[in-house]
Subunit: 291 residues, 2 copies
Amino acid sequence: MPCRRYRWGMETRELRYFVAVAEELHFGRAARRLGIAQPPLSRAIAQLERRLGVALLERTSRAVALTEAGSVLLVEGRAALDAVEAAERRTRRAALVGAGRPGLVLVTKAGASGELLSKLLDAYASEPGAVSVDVLLCGIGEQERLLRDGRADVALLHRPFDSTVGLDTEELSTEGQVVVLPAGHPLTAQAQVRMADVTALSDLPPPRRPGPDGTYPDGPGPQVRDSTQLYQLIALGRASAVLPESCRADLRRDLVAVPVLDAPTVTTVIAWPPHSRSLALAGLIRTAIRL
Amino acid sequence: MPCRRYRWGMETRELRYFVAVAEELHFGRAARRLGIAQPPLSRAIAQLERRLGVALLERTSRAVALTEAGSVLLVEGRAALDAVEAAERRTRRAALVGAGRPGLVLVTKAGASGELLSKLLDAYASEPGAVSVDVLLCGIGEQERLLRDGRADVALLHRPFDSTVGLDTEELSTEGQVVVLPAGHPLTAQAQVRMADVTALSDLPPPRRPGPDGTYPDGPGPQVRDSTQLYQLIALGRASAVLPESCRADLRRDLVAVPVLDAPTVTTVIAWPPHSRSLALAGLIRTAIRL
DNA sequence: GGCGTCGATACCTCCCGGGTATCCATCGAG
DNA sequence: CTCGATGGATACCCGGGAGGTATCGACGCC
């Protein structure tokens, strides 16, 4: 009779449970995080292992560890959960278009490519059939995740800093880099400098930015979260930074930018998840390519 | 009390149900395909719409149509289901490595890059720490799907024929193309030809190959499924074909290949899903790059 | 050796996914 | 216009399983 569910594949609930346990490596904590009791969680994981016919965790009653298969499922499962979330979010958003709600969400790093972005938005808005575009500003390395889990539809990325794996891209512009220094600093007397000159400034170390996991790398420089903090620290004479030329448009009056001859050039690209080619997205990309 | 499931996102069961209905545009047929009765399916879809707060289907009691949001969920949902399936398959496979079971599955089009492939497999097999590699041969345009749903881990693709969107790639080799003709054909007297010479052969039209959906495009040429059929038809004087140079190694004795000067060059690339960088995969890719 | 920790087991409850029977709207044939 | 066929929605029932609490059992630690 009824209820022979187990005949199809995994349910997202099972995946969420497994990912929680695999991340915590502790059933109790994982259960608390999931808002359920520990026993059902144990059962669910056991059932998942039975269904897959695979041992995912080594339990030794004092410690929990991932098996080889378990670590595969952790990374693949995260990707799958992201895809499910993306489906949900994009569907919800698609239903709101027209009521003045965002038809597209564009994500880029705060304080980068500002001029390019505003030109793009202006140009697209005057296209026939343009939908409204929301702009989402985020930190470094977050864009890929936002595109994958559906919070954003399209991103402005900067090679070689941002990874573009798994995304479709089109190049928009390339530019050199400048070193940003406090006004009056000796180096600002020069028309251009080299990377060696910049790294030699041990009293003005490069700042440390948080990674995707929110932690800061070790090093001498001050920790910064956004460009306002960064500019203030440079103005205070506590740091210097090598940034793409276009940052000049946003610079405070007490900062000076000097071209760095041998810094790698930065390419701004527009990137989007390869399978989601909606008409609105295609229009935005076309506009972007035409600059 | 117990059971407040609905607080988290979609379940894969709901997605599978919706995709079935969206593809069939008919609740009864979809239910039959899913192996369940029609009423539970209606309920499940209604519940999904309630959960998302979004209308996915327009039902008019005689016809079912997708809303805008529904077509978004169809494409995003398929991608998500593929990702879940991929997680399941790759996890199962990861658990079998060591028992002589395939550690990696490489997919490529039948009858392409044969020499490169065997050199790659030989070179990789002699690496320290190599796992066993299964080779999967498939038709045109199937590779992307096999990589996405986890039936394969890595593919040999041929630009510009195969799409590489959403995949990480490394170029392996480039080659020109040749036209394959029956021995004794007048054109075989020449050392090289141009595309115009080939398209002028209206008695030897290019063959039609099935697309990803299994249907053949319209046109004059004969329908072929694989290279054996193709070679036989050429030998019979019913077709000709422009193929990468490397096909020469597989040619029957009664066929002749003539270089085509202005045909686009073909690049063989090794491609893999961007997030799945297992050690075994990395080793194979490294070997491939070193040719 | 007792105690604390943590995962597994036992057992209960009730929600929900599955079923069948039926209703109702629409379309087409006559 | 009526009537049957078609196809989705509704009503209702049933059983499995997802959730809970209580407890066990294994291990590490003081």
